[in-house]
Assembly symmetry: C2
Homo-oligomer: 479 residues x 2
């Protein structure tokens, strides 16, 4: 476990720093936050987090050890002493460590956990983050809250499939994509990731195979693997997902689902051609292979709109379609949606009710208002304009600093540039070095375990100044 | 699958009703919402939902059959015809029915599914609903949104454990309960139910046993069973959970977790005495049995506060504590929290990040403001006042209408009255009869499969008028 806290010793108080640290640890132990037998932070980690000299921590820990609260244990560092327990009879309880290790759900990949934590290091430059910068968040919030929502709209438990008025707006919005669907077949979810979780728990069986692009965002998640499914990666070519590889695998009958991001693919930025969409759809029809189409980036075209979604070709109910407001409106609202045959939507709604009783009604109402009042379209115009200049600036930086070392294609939408190093370098070592240098990267191996020479760069999150500093530092770190 | 839609034929249009219905079905088929081979609603169900004569539906379906879009199939009703598919080659695809049946997650109990759906029948009287009535929702929303939140506060992805400012407020709020905990050991979740899901997926192993009161709210959920755990019910006496039964079971070493609702227990309304809390805690210490304390109703005391939480006795990190705003502030915000040893909180935060990337930041910010500005305490005063008159009215109705047939205890807080019928009656039949009569009940067997003669009544949701009509109708339906 990583040691993290917002607590810091207060130098303006009259109390010595080492004593403040000792009191802090004492309160952690007495409150049961650090139970008997659990490991406490190393002196080094504590000194770093608290921003003090290691000797100060040494002094604090010595006092705690003298009081019998902590003890060194060979092989496992310093632990909370059994003698600290109010009941001296109790040696070590409960063994949370074993609970933490035996859960059904797999832990996130180590690098993902590192990224989740590093994102909150102050001033870290996030060069790979798949989020809109706070500068891109909509300004219309106050206009919306001047509407005086009805209490029930924003505070009640929503229906299993989500707020009806939002499902109506989504259904209208989908018409613009060539998807004709009634609100009955729309399920509101707490972001696209939850859609994957519901599908994993609600539709697929243990031992299923999920096919997907290689690399793919999906490979950075544990959602299908934790539910006992395996993943099978299919190569990408100029036009998107390789249809021949798909046919070969689909014919074997082993795949239960094809997950694809045909528009502004994450992480490569590629767009599947219209022809390829038709081919992939026909192949899936032939082999009765359901498709899960993740279309979270569609609204973020920068040069021209992407070809119509696979779902728009679908009169057979073969395609489950996922949309999201996280990349366009804002991630903090946690609103996405799934479209599919009604019986599937009902099943997923039931699993959702069992997971969290539905998405925040306040968030649902807010998104509904954005759509209904036309504020969403207004906002997209702004976002596209801003993303175009960000993309231009990032490309210019790459030209200036990384032309020798790497190559890339110009994305026509979305957030990402899939950077390929021309020479063999150790990307894991680069990741570690960059963090020390205050730069957070998304290495290619997150999206394809076998990948050795890519980075996913994003121009959506860091400020212009941060992009410059970040790319300069990155260029400097390349061996 | 239940047939549900908000669509209705429009009598003011010049188009015959049967034709409107035929067009509706056609659009469902052409959009893939009702895929080839899937069953369409029965004529009876369609007539009921659309509010038309059955003969009108018969006429519409006859037209669709003549066009080859639907066909009768012996044994499985009317299905979408294969000939309807744009590609005549394709007989039936994909077999969503089999996907829907094979998911890892168990479906909700049938009665729970019926309840989830019946809740949205217009004018239904909900006599058992465990939610605050919309009348009880806070009025302070506009005051809060006048604060002009920073964009990042309400739109950004939150930290894995949740918005820091909210965790600070919760930590302060917990001090009032005798729980001393830093924001580091608080995890924000999307409602208490999600806490259970995270614990099931993140901490427990397949084949574990979860001990709990019998009856218990927990037994109405599938969350632990779907993750491969079994449940073991322990009896309740005057002082709460039976400590002797707990000791016997705990000594066998088979339990991995004790789930309990010591304050204003759901569904019985009982409060565990202080003495019993101490005994239960000591027993769990002795047997190293972790406790999951669900304290969602604590703030809703009506006569006097409940004894301190088990967590306040806990210096050993034995207790995981769950709190929630769903019963007090509003369910639609979907905000709850878990408190426990830091290593457990980190593990649960990681599983949460993999499930939905965190709770709505907009909801988190809103709850933080309620707490920070003291609006939450103000609101609680109002809610308690209102619940007291609701409880008094419900008790008066029971005295008038159900004294002969049933008995009950007066709850000292929370939402529920645990009604026991003195004679053997068929509660399942009563449930069905009541729905037909426009009254939705929560039968006791939801909370204990073996229960045959209880209802969970709630005075929190229905209006005074609805309570009266509902109890009158209920009294009339008792055989």
């Amino acid at each position: 476990m990583k040691f993290e806290t917002n607590w810091r010793p207060d130098r303006s108080r009259g109390i010595p720093i080492y004593r403040q640290i000792a009191d802090y640890v004492r309160s952690k132990i007495e409150s049961g936050e650090w139970p008997t037998g659990s490991r406490i932070p190393t002196e080094r980690a504590a000194a770093k987090v608290f921003g003090v000299n290691r000797s100060t921590v040494v002094q604090a820990f010595a006092e705690l050890a003298a009081d019998g609260l902590i003890e060194g244990k060979s092989g496992s560092g310093t632990i909370v002493s059994a003698a600290s327990a109010w009941d001296k009879q109790v040696p070590k309880l409960p063994d949370w460590e074993s609970y933490v290790k035996t859960g059904v759900h797999r832990p996130n990949q180590r690098t993902i956990q590192d990224i989740n934590h590093a994102e909150f290091i102050p001033d870290i430059i996030r060069l790979g983050t798949g989020e809109p910068s706070p500068d891109l968040f909509p300004k219309a919030m106050n206009r919306i809250f001047r509407q005086q929502p009805s209490q029930t709209d924003i505070f009640g438990y929503p229906e299993p499939r989500g707020l009806y008025s939002l499902r109506e707006e989504i259904s209208k919005h989908m018409t613009g994509y060539g998807i004709s669907v009634s609100p009955d077949s729309v399920l509101i979810v707490s972001g696209a990731l939850q859609a994957l979780q519901l599908i994993a728990l609600g539709l697929l069986k243990n031992g299923s195979s999920v096919l997907t692009e290689s690399p793919s965002y999906l490979q950075s998640l544990q959602v299908f693997q934790s539910a006992g499914m395996s993943m099978w990666g299919l190569p990408l070519d100029e036009e998107g997902l390789d249809a021949i590889a798909l046919e070969r695998y689909a014919a074997s009958g082993k795949g239960t689902l094809l997950y694809t991001i045909p528009s502004f693919h994450n992480p490569t930025g590629k767009v599947m051609s219209l022809k390829r969409r038709q081919d992939v759809y026909q192949l899936c029809v032939k082999h009765k292979l359901p498709i899960l189409e993740d279309d979270a980036y569609r609204d973020l075209w920068l040069d021209k709109p992407s070809p119509p979604p696979l779902k728009s070709l679908d009169q057979n109910g073969l395609v489950l379609y996922i949309g999201s407001m996280s990349k366009t409106l804002s991630p903090g609202l946690r609103i996405g949606w799934v479209i599919g045959p009604e019986q599937v939507i009902h099943r997923l709604a039931d699993v959702k009710m069992q997971s969290d009783y539905g998405a925040s009604t306040l968030s649902q109402w807010t998104v509904m208002q954005f759509l209904r009042q036309g504020l969403y379209e207004e906002h997209l115009d702004q976002v596209r304009k801003e993303l175009r200049s960000r993309r231009a600036y990032m490309l210019q930086l790459l030209e200036s600093y990384l032309k020798e070392a790497a190559e890339w294609e110009v994305p026509t939408g979305g957030f990402y540039i899939w950077l390929r190093f021309k020479r063999d370098i150790s990307v894991p070592a680069l990741f570690d070095a960059a963090i020390k240098d205050g730069v957070l990267l998304n290495p290619g191996y997150l999206y394809d375990k076998a990948d050795r020479n890519h980075l996913r760069l994003s121009y959506s999150y860091a400020s212009f100044e941060q992009m410059k500093t970040g790319i300069e530092r990155l260029a400097r770190s390349i061996p």
